[in-house]
């Protein structure tokens, strides 16, 4: 742990992440204005005491919108990566442990997904509007009803984004976990667990996966930054979080039209994205180095 704290860049990234988390959690208390409150007379005001980061085309406070946007971005980042880690770990563990045709089938599927440029895949899936399709399953009482109840509680667009980004980014984790399991399963402690009478499922979950988690942690940390970036890209293209809900990507998108007259509209969300992704990368690299040094230190 001390080694991790000695890495100044990682600590800096960590501090940024803590600040972001605090901002996201206490968004209502921290934002000076209502992020959705339209106030046309105050449109496109430059930064001032009343509006620290200026206002947008509809006179909404940019700072407040950025603060609420933090919630959306972090939420999407973490949950999308959570989905990717779960799916990737499961696929990678099965492929690595069972080998043979299971491995061949799963890995060729991974290769297929990897061979399609992510952004096109995302655009294609989002264009089909899976959340709407799910709601239309209303004919099937159970699924339709569940979907309706679920989407009343949370914004379907955001849920869809998390799911789509997560389900399109698990392939790296799957390859990583597969490689780890391939080398771990030959280790003697796996045989030792089997001679104790442990089942395959138990060997995988209790003995193999905990040993394979270190690189997954690194990849997940880096992945959160990537997922936030993907969300911003999609929102910027108008396919992500829909206005009026603020997200860094769509604030950037709205600011694009006023780029010549209102620089503050694009600069601030741009910097937010930059520093957040940077922070996740620094922390991820820090953890990678820390783990590397630790396993080099042990025999």
């Amino acid at each position: 742990m001390m080694n991790l704290l000695r890495n100044r860049l990682a600590v800096m990234g960590g501090v940024i992440l803590v600040v972001l988390a605090v901002v996201a959690i206490f968004a209502p208390a921290l934002s000076p204005h209502d992020p959705l409150q339209i106030n046309l007379p105050d449109a496109l005001l430059p930064p001032s005491a009343a509006y620290p980061l200026g206002t947008d085309l509809l006179g909404r406070d940019v700072l407040s919108r950025l603060i609420y946007g933090t919630r959306i971005s972090l939420l999407i980042g973490f949950i999308a990566v959570g989905i990717a880690v779960i799916v990737g770990t499961a696929v990678g563990a099965l492929a690595g442990f069972y080998g043979g045709w299971v491995d061949a089938v799963l890995m060729r599927f991974v290769d297929t997904l990897l061979s399609i440029p992510t952004i096109f895949l995302l655009l294609a899936v989002i264009a089909m509007d899976p959340a709407q399709r799910l709601l239309e399953l209303g004919g099937l009482p159970l699924i339709g009803g569940l979907a309706k109840g679920f989407f009343q509680a949370v914004d379907p667009q955001i849920v869809m984004l998390m799911a789509v980004i997560g389900l399109m980014s698990w392939m790296g984790v799957a390859r990583l976990v597969r490689a780890e399991i391939l080398s771990l399963k030959e280790r003697e402690f796996v045989l030792a667990a089997r001679v104790l009478g442990a089942s395959s499922l138990r060997v995988i979950t209790k003995h193999l996966l905990p040993n394979a988690m270190a690189p997954v942690l690194v990849s997940a940390t880096l992945g959160v930054g990537g997922a936030i970036l993907t969300e911003s890209v999609l929102s910027y293209l108008g396919l992500g979080v829909q206005p009026p809900t603020p997200s860094w990507g769509n604030i950037l998108n709205e600011g694009r039209v006023a780029l010549g007259v209102a620089w503050w509209l694009t600069l601030s969300p741009g910097l937010c994205i930059l520093f957040t992704v940077l922070a996740f990368n620094l922390v991820g690299e820090g953890i990678r180095e820390w783990i590397g040094r630790r396993s080099a230190g042990a025999k």
Binding site: R187, E188, A192, A193, V195, L196, G197, A198, H207, P210
Partner: protein, 281 residues
């Protein structure tokens, strides 16, 4: 009556059309409370045979044939009735037998313990898989076994990780893990090879004490005849997958018949001579 009767055990490894017969039709028995040593040069099929007994070799590439009959040993539990052929038993039955009736200890304790689980967790796993004990009860059994294999302040050590232990202590933990479910057969595959000489003696003594206390049958795999001489009752010699000689230790090592046994004995005398020479100088 023998605890384990092995008949015509054959292990063939097949890989891309080529096949190697690692164990070639060996037959032997292990009596209840007996220590049988299986010796032979490396590559003679000792370890393959040992793993094949509980169907632990991955298949493919390994193909195992023959019969491994295990007698019932605990009349009050009588799980398996009389005579189970381990090679045709179901995977589920085998899981109950592995660890429960047949326990293994391997050569290198440093790699047979899982580096990310504490000693306590690993020992508890063995107990929870095979006995009804859970929670506090399981912990109590774990501590008891750690003490029995000579680990001091066992309670505090439960939360230690394997790398915090010396190799000798790790092997004690492995022994505790194997013994905690009170199996009737312990298969020890070169249990002292990775240890230095003084620790070797301690571990062997511990194994012999446990064997006597629990009337345990032991299949001891080794290429070190000094070890075999010290604790085994009978010895079986393997060479190129075949069992070439079997009998009481004194007879086989005292009056070796097969050239392989003689060769093994010759190595030992060479080492012994060199050791003696070094002691003199």
């Amino acid at each position: 009556m023998p605890l384990l009767t092995v008949e015509d055990l054959t292990v063939t490894y097949r890989h891309h059309g080529t096949s190697v017969r690692a164990v070639d039709g060996i037959s032997f028995t292990i009596g209840s409370g007996e220590i049988l040593a299986l010796v032979g040069e490396s590559g003679s099929g000792k370890s393959s045979a040992a793993l094949a007994l509980a169907k632990l070799l991955p298949s493919p590439p390994a193909e195992v044939s023959g019969q491994v009959m295990m007698e019932r040993v605990h009349p009050h539990t009588n799980i398996f009735g009389v005579g189970v052929n381990l090679l045709s038993a179901s995977e589920e039955a085998l899981r109950a037998i592995r660890g429960g009736k047949i326990a293994y200890v391997f050569q290198d304790p440093a790699t047979s313990l899982n580096p990310v689980l504490t000693i306590g967790e690993q020992l508890r796993e063995a107990i929870e898989l095979h006995t009804g004990a859970r929670g506090e009860e399981a912990t109590r059994v774990v501590v008891e076994w750690l003490q029995r294999v000579g680990i001091t302040s066992a309670k505090e050590r439960l939360s230690a990780y394997p790398h915090e232990f010396s190799v000798g202590m790790q092997q004690r933990v492995c022994l505790a893990m194997a013994m905690a479910t009170q199996p009737s057969l312990l298969i020890a595959d070169e249990p002292t090879t990775a240890l230095d000489v003084t620790i070797q003696v301690q571990i062997l003594r511990l194994m012999r004490d446990l064997q006597r206390a629990f009337r345990l049958s032991v299949l001891l795999i080794s290429h070190d005849l000094t070890v075999v001489e010290r604790i085994a009752h009978r010895v079986a010699v393997m060479s190129q997958g075949k069992l070439v000689e079997i009998g009481p230790v004194a007879q086989v090592l005292g009056h070796p018949v097969h050239p392989c046994t003689k060769a093994l004995l010759a190595c030992r005398s060479a080492v012994a001579l060199r050791r003696a020479g070094r002691a003199d100088g």
